[in-house]
């Protein structure tokens, strides 16, 4: 098992994957607060020409919550996209190029190997997200003032549980399909479906996988409205996301265990 762990860690570094996700999350972590800090100036410039046209733009000064909102908004798009693109071939790529066959003719358990691979890369993805979140908090503090760190920590947890779920379903689809692109397609689909289904059916929106994300957004507050407390449904949703993330792994094991290589 140690040699496989060494292999996973070396792979992270040698393929330079180790810098990709942190770079994306730190990028959006810095971009969000910087964008909000610059927004009044950008709108001020636009305001001149708008005033000439008889339009008045009334923009309140951005507060720390706005920087964090912007970060989460970008992380929800670019961060999740980066997670899906990074991990779409995590199993299918090895299956396709034959390296899984090379490993599975050795006396190692397929289940243990997949569990190790899921754990190491999941931990890496979560670390990348945490580093990005820290960068967002630091940039927000510097540019927009100190945010409410306890609320922010809560939102980071709510979002993190959802991100882990996205990572896990990407892993599952990667185990299910031989082509990484198909795995990516199936992984992207729930990102669009879950918010829509949550709007169509309120209980799913509140208690379902996307409920944690919506609650995290509301808890931060900002320009869109005052901060709302984190409800029980959000905590349940986040815990359910963590549970689902763990449940998807045995499904991936089951799929790959019975796959011809």
């Amino acid at each position: 098992m140690n040699s496989l762990l060494t292999k996973e860690l070396k792979e992270l570094f040698r393929t330079r994957r180790v810098v990709i996700l942190p770079a994306v999350f730190v990028g959006v972590g810095l971009m969000g607060p910087i964008f909000m800090r610059l927004l009044p100036f950008l709108l001020g410039d636009a305001g001149g020409s708008a005033a000439a046209a008889g339009i008045t733009i009334d923009m309140p000064d951005p507060i720390p919550a706005d920087g964090l909102q912007q970060y989460f908004g970008m992380a929800r798009q670019f961060g999740l996209l980066a997670i899906i693109l990074t991990f779409m071939g995590i199993v299918s790529g090895e299956r396709r190029d034959g390296s899984l066959a090379f490993l599975f003719v050795k006396p190692i358990s397929r289940v243990k190997y997949l569990l190790l691979r899921w754990s190491v890369n999941g931990l890496y993805a979560m670390l990348a997200y945490l580093i990005g979140s820290l960068a967002a908090a630091a940039a927000t503090h510097l540019l927009l003032g100190p945010p409410d760190y306890s609320v922010y920590a809560g939102a980071v947890f709510l979002y993190g549980a959802y991100f882990l779920l996205v990572y896990s379903w990407t892993f599952l689809f990667s185990a299910a399909f031989k082509r990484p692109a198909i795995a990516a397609g199936f992984s992207l689909l729930p990102l669009f479906l879950l918010p829509v289904l949550g709007i169509l059916w309120q209980p799913l929106g509140e208690w379902g996988p996307y409920g944690a994300v919506a609650a995290g957004t509301l808890a931060i507050g900002g320009m869109t409205g005052p901060a709302a407390p984190i409800e029980l449904s959000a905590v349940v949703s986040a815990l359910a996301n963590l549970g689902l993330a763990l449940l998807l792994i045995p499904s991936a094991f089951f799929l790959l265990k019975r796959t011809d290589l």
Binding site: R14, K106, R110
Partner: protein, 318 residues
């Protein structure tokens, strides 16, 4: 010549595998003796790779069972007895290109529960055997196809396998690479039982001692190379003489050791049942009929002849 299942390193019984309505392996029975280099010979699509993959536990079988060095192969099961006893090299081996050759072998050593010191020592030995010591620390991504094939054989040897499965180990290599890999296989036969698939007759004839001929998923022949050659082909003697040899050909056709005679302007070709008798009788007949000898040579039977006999010539339905 049949082989007792107990004396076999590998036994395959009633193996069948279909892909949709395509039967890749059809009720296959194989017995591979200990310490032999067993050539699994067949045209493309005969079922060689499927058979080896099932043996390696990478593919499931619809029916049948396989035993390797006494352990049953069970695809998808976490029962590693068979996997501890076999080494496998796929047709187009792919290893992690970001690893060095040494790292790959150390990884494999670890998978066989060797300590890191043991794995490193074993890796050095394996690299020595395959002649890649000088490139041990280079990334596999920079290796040539032949070097990848050799590192593939090295990784297959790390667990000291009782049975080594090599799927077309030399087919895609250039002549130099082929020669190196076949020489390596030849050296390894001292250490382990080898099953090597190939559609290249020359490769099989060069290193294998036993041959199984597969065609359309069925085993059409299985025995030692020598027996196979003897059973399916008869040696040919080429005789070139000076003088009128019309009478000689008639006499030859009546000799008991002769199976057939064809004569051209240049030579007489004699299909012989007994070469040593031919070597004695031909000089006697030349003296008797006052003919001068220009050349007498015996042509060894080729595996190609056997293969064509069993599988059919290209374009023929086998």
């Amino acid at each position: 010549m049949s082989l007792n299942a107990n004396s076999a390193a590998v036994t395959v019984r009633g193996l069948t595998r279909t892909f949709g309505d395509q039967v890749a392996v059809n009720n296959l029975n194989l017995s591979v003796p200990h310490g032999e280099v067993y050539g699994l010979l067949g045209p493309n699509g005969a079922g060689k790779t499927t058979t080896l993959k099932i043996m390696a536990g990478l593919l499931s079988a619809d029916e049948g069972h396989i035993r390797i060095a006494g352990a049953t192969v069970r695809p998808w099961k976490t029962d590693f007895e068979a996997h501890k006893k076999l080494g496998y090299l796929s047709e187009d081996p792919v290893f992690f290109p970001w690893m060095s050759g040494m790292e790959l072998l150390e990884l494999v050593g670890g998978l066989f529960n060797l300590t890191s010191a043991q794995a490193r020592q074993k890796a050095k030995e394996a690299l020595e055997i395959i002649g890649l010591t000088s490139r041990a620390e280079d990334r596999i991504g920079s290796y040539s196809r032949g070097m990848r094939q050799r590192i593939g054989i090295a990784q297959a040897l790390m667990g000291e396998p009782e049975v080594l499965l090599l799927d077309e180990p030399a087919s895609a290599l250039d002549p130099l690479g082929r020669r190196e890999v076949l020489a390596l296989v030849d050296r390894l036969k001292e250490k382990t039982t080898i099953i090597m698939s190939s559609h290249i007759l020359d490769d099989i004839q060069r290193v294998c001692t036993w041959v199984g001929v597969l065609n359309e998923g069925r085993l059409v022949a299985e025995e030692s190379l020598q027996n196979l050659l003897t059973r399916f082909t008869e040696p040919m003697m080429h005789l070139e003489v000076v003088g009128d040899y019309g009478r000689l050909t008639d006499i030859l056709r009546e000799e008991s050791w002769v199976r057939g005679v064809t004569a051209t302007d240049a030579e007489i070709r004699i299909l012989v049942g007994n070469v040593s008798e031919g070597r004695t009788r031909i000089p006697e007949l030349l003296v008797e009929y006052n003919l001068g000898l220009v050349e007498l040579r015996t042509e060894s039977p080729e595996l190609e002849d056997v293969f064509l006999e069993l599988v059919g010539a290209p374009g023929e339905s086998a």
